[in-house]
């Protein structure tokens, strides 16, 4: 078990574009991390760099402060669970689990004890004598995981989208098994996925990546409430954050003629191309026309489309040429045609050049019509 630190890691395959661009990250000992991003964002490359299967073009990796960049996969003691179960077909489950120990010269009795312990923990004791080949996909994935767990010298376990081939009903129980393992053994776990539900339920901290760069690292709440980048806002949450073009004049951000917030003095007070405000569908509320509430922006808008999701309504509102999605919990007012828009100022963010501007102060609310 160890703290893993990446310092300025960059990688490119041959002469192609950079798959990773100067990544600095620290994974603390015993933490559960998720690496989240769309396909092709560099997540898998990153895992392979950490496990030593790919040599980074630049930068260094440290385990507990020791530079391990030049070490081979075997020497690094980093285990990996792959997208689909990787088993030695001709062996039994127990033999599969013993295999990494046998290769490292662990004596038989110790290995046997360890295998039984881990089988107990993963609840696969009854499968030990079965041939690995005939197991179901989820059991196979557990056995793959167990091969990482039997080793006592493992610094970190990497998961490369391990639930891809698992039936939806089994995913939950596998995730539970992972949680249990993490609580019991306290390994440093890094979990790569493109499924935000998986990432957010599994991890203490989530790293969101796009195009080889880390867009944000933070707790699930932080990613949701204060996305550092429009990409994060869009990628986290379902549906993603709404982005609306806004006005900026004299350091004040406005939306359709309504002042929203004052920019901090450190950045240019005039409008720049690409300036937008973002708001989560979850923080958009509607009220019947004319019944505006105190601390909110009030605007009247047209209702475009309404979808009933059971626990909530997804309502698409139209402001000028732009669409705004609201996620309205069941039981609250669902507008049908026109409505007043209630936006909580604290949950509106200003993005310049894609990045969220920190330190904006909300302007006292004024009622106005956003057109």
């Amino acid at each position: 078990m160890a703290e893993i630190r990446l310092a300025g890691i960059g990688h490119r395959y041959g002469d192609s574009d950079w798959a990773l661009r100067g990544i600095d990250l620290t994974w603390e000992d015993g933490g559960a991390y998720a690496l989240l991003g769309p396909s092709g964002c560099g997540k898998s490359t990153m895992l392979n760099v950490i496990s030593g299967l790919v040599d980074p073009t630049e930068g260094a990796i440290y385990a507990d402060g020791i530079d391990i960049t030049a070490r081979s996969t075997v020497e690094r003691n980093i285990a990996q669970v792959f997208q689909f179960p990787v088993l030695y077909d001709t062996m039994t489950v127990a033999q599969n689990m013993r295999f990494p120990l046998r290769n490292r010269g662990v004596d038989k009795a110790t290995a046997q004890r360890r295998v039984e312990e881990i089988a107990e923990l993963l609840d696969i004791s009854h499968l030990l004598d079965e041939r690995a080949k005939g197991l179901s996909a989820d059991s196979k994935q557990l056995v793959s995981l167990s091969r990482a767990l039997v080793r006592t010298d493992v610094a970190a376990i990497l998961f490369d989208e391990p639930l891809t081939v698992i039936d939806p009903q089994k995913k939950w129980s596998l995730r539970q098994a992972l949680k249990r393992v993490h609580n019991e053994l306290n390994h440093t776990l890094v979990y790569v996925t493109h499924d935000q539900t998986e990432a957010l339920t599994f991890a203490d901290a989530v790293v969101v990546m796009d195009q080889g760069e880390v867009m944000q690292e933070g707790s699930p709440d932080e990613l949701f409430e204060r996305p550092a980048h429009t990409f994060v806002g869009n990628f986290i949450g379902s549906p993603g954050m709404n982005f609306l073009s806004c006005s900026v004049a004299g350091g004040v951000v406005g939306l359709g003629g309504v002042d929203l917030m004052r920019l901090p003095g450190s950045i240019s007070p005039e409008l720049e191309p690409g300036d937008v405000v973002g708001i989560r569908p979850d923080f958009v509320r509607c009220a019947p026309p004319g019944s505006g509430r105190g601390s909110s922006i009030v605007a009247d808008v047209d209702v475009d489309e309404s979808k009933d999701l059971g626990t909530a309504h997804l309502v698409t509102l139209r402001i000028g040429d732009e669409a705004l999605v609201a996620r309205i919990p069941a039981g609250e007012h669902v507008p049908r045609e026109r409505c007043d828009l209630l936006l909580e100022l604290g949950n509106i963010h200003f993005f310049r050049g894609g990045h969220r501007v920190e330190g904006c102060t909300p302007v006292a609310p004024t009622a106005g019509a956003i057109r």
Partner: protein, 288 residues
Amino acid sequence: MSTDRKPADNKAWFFVIPVIISVAFTAIIPLIIVINYSVQDIFGPDDRIFVGSEWFRDVIGDPIIRDSFWRSIRFSVQVLLVQIPLGIVLGLAMPKRGWRASAALVLMALPLLIPFNVVGMIWQIFARADIGLGGYFVNDVLGISYNYTLVPRDAWFTVLLMDTWHWAPLVALLVYAGLRSIPDAYYRAAEIDGAKRFAIFRFIELPKLAGVLTIAVLLRFMDSFMIYTEPFVLTGGGPGNTTNFLSISLTKIAVGQFDLGRAAAYSLIFFLFIQLFCFIFYTAMKRL
């Protein structure tokens, strides 16, 4: 009778007729003719005697045919023992990417494209002690006495070498294709598990190759057991009876002696043996 029976319309059988006709003319009728010959002694169109199982007993009891049978078995076993491991080694050694991979594939495929009797001719000349490059090299450069037209052991060795040159590439290509289909993750997992090269072969590559190796063994067994053209071109089954394999002795009986009844019984036994072997082998491999 229940009323919810599905409507029966036997017109669908008409669709099967073309297949029945083509199979009848290509396989069933010729086979029936062979069976017909095998139970009769035919002297002329109107002059025949039904002899029952006499030809079969005759064939099974014939010492020359028995020798040929064991010779073919011995040859096939040696072919498998040499060509399967060699094919695996070649398949493992072939380059995986780049122009080298393409070059290796083409080179390996070349012997497979050469017609059987051309292979026989190439080796017939190449291995001759007097004018052949190979024969000259072995005799006069290496100083080893070698002459396939005179020495039985040399003739046997030449046929085995020729067959290996011709067909080991097939095994290699099958193995190569099998290896390509193993996902990268298996190698990565093995690396993480600290597996040595041999363990990777034993526990990952070999199990994943089981399917293609079954095909390779079946193909190589059938083809080597039926081998005819190459030894026929090389020495015509000689010297003596050294390379008188089953197909060669069958041809001698059928075409040389025009002993059709005997040849028919021989063919049927030959045919059934190969069927039986393949069935047993395939069933056994499936169970593995």
